[in-house]
Amino acid sequence: MKKNVYRLMTVLILVTIALAACAPAVAPVPETVVEKVEITKLVESQVEVVVTATPGPEKILKVFGAFATPIEEPWDGVIHAALNKAQADGRIEYTYQEAIGYSGDMERVLREVCEQQKPDLILGDAFGNEEAVRRVAKDFPEVAFAFGSGSGPTEPNVAVFDNWIHEPAYLMGMLAGGLTKTNKLGVVGAMPVPEVNRLTNAFIAGAKAQNPDVVVMVSFINSWFDPAAAKEAAIAMIDNGADVLYAERFGVIEAAAEKGLFSFGNMSDQNELAPDFVVSSAVWNMDPTVDYLINQVSAGTFTAQDLKDFSMMGKGGASLASFHGTEAKLPADLVAAVKAREAEIMSGMFRVDVSESQPAGSN
């Protein structure tokens, strides 16, 4: 009998403790202010009421980044950098997962995130995961998806973007065409996919525009990351007479610098890799895309669209990087011609052709 009482008490105590633990934190009781309004005077004159829409503080969006590769990969690194910046500016709350890979995890990760974190907006790269992204987006129409993609947008909630930096690539081609003494240029690319082809083709077009006699060698290393092979490919080009190189991949700038030759970087400003020899770089900047997306999602006006323009020069999504003082070594008229063409592109008066077919090289 006594035993049972003890048991009952123990159970009761435990239940009490458990309930206490579960209880919600005490919410501050809002003070009700009773305003005594005394009408002392009747307003007789008509008052013009000016309604100024004072926007409340922008709602901080929850944004998730979904990357197939580690964020050291330059392409994903650009998206990650822009989202970090938006977070630092206090506009979004940003979380991300990287190195998701290409073997089926993208769909699982996106589903879990949509169900548990309920983000307002998800950015990422859909290359190699195109179907997975669209399958998940279909099931979560309230979430905005904006993905780097080689395909088009999908209604109602998948917008796409890509690194449309063919315009600075064209300008670099002009510089390279004007700088070469041997009339031979070299481009080392990863593999002939549209993202690489259009940069290479624009570079070739720019070089030809500046110097019709120029020959451009193109080779592929069939890997996104093999700087040692890229360097060997570059040395092979230099041995074959190339004296200005476009480093679509890492490893090429090292080869050019070793031989004292000019080179051009890709994706971000790569001058610091060889300050005396990297003339400029084709820079991709995702800030305009991210700003636009934040505004659209906040305003509830997000639509499935191709955000291409926001990654081009006109809107600041692409640029020719600073010359970092190397212009002192360049012919003044060449720099002037490039600057003039840059201004024409910025003002919309010159369109760089987009060609995504495999560059054959021009030799």
Binding site: I71, D226, E254, L273
Partner: protein
Amino acid sequence: MELTLFLVGLIAATLRVATPLIFGTLGELFSERSGVLNLGIEGIMFLGAFTGFAVAAKTGSLWIGLLGAIVAGGLAGMLMALLSVRLGVNQHVSGLGITLLATGISLYSFRVIFGESKIPPSIEPFPMLPILPELHVLAPITNQYLLTYIGIAMIAVVWWVIGKTRFGLQIRAVGENPEAADAAGLNVYAIRTRALVIGGALMAVGGAFLTLAQLGSFTFGIIAGRGWVCIALIIFANWQSVNVLFGALIFGGVQALQLRLQTLGFKLPYELFLSLPYVVTIIALTLAGRNASAPSALLKAYRRE
């Protein structure tokens, strides 16, 4: 003259491409001759590339960086020994596990030390040795990195150690017949552990060559399958150290050749050139592999009854 320049450039490139393969394959040779297939090679080369770079960047000394890579590779070899020799875990599983672990640790440490930078951090790498004056026609061939010369010399050293020394005899004994070696009073576990530690250190030097000599920077994916190529080369070499040189030179040579053919603008699909080194490796393996004689106890964990 044109042809001379082409050949000189080709041979020079061949030696550069072959260097990490020579170190990696010699490392695998030590492991396999003692009876342990070390599939951790891809990860250990990556760990060597990272550790060498990180230590060199932080201490300012390439040599201390190289030493760091050797120590890291040795430790990874020791871990492989703990798993596959002491605990008797399946060699495929433990090797692949080491590759995943070493890759993960390297990437994680890279971010902790260097942060998230858009441009890979870089150091001033080992120079090429000025053996001939720069304008000499043969200079590209002779003026290689010191590590390339060390790698070629290492082939002779490994040949001597495995074939002519007491330690080499012990390695071969535990790789061919561990029961008999044990009966003869050898400590199979200890000898295999030593072989794996030395092997790991050599693999790590192969990786460190890329960051400390060839590139001066570290990026993820830098090994790009070179470790797996070494696994094929060891079969091609029939587990003989001298053959390692030929295997590495053939693969390196075809790789260097295909990059040159691409720039010469032959109107052939570039995929054809890219596949050349692997096609040649497969053909060579088929020819050489018919008489291949792997160490008898390879893949068998030794358990004392």
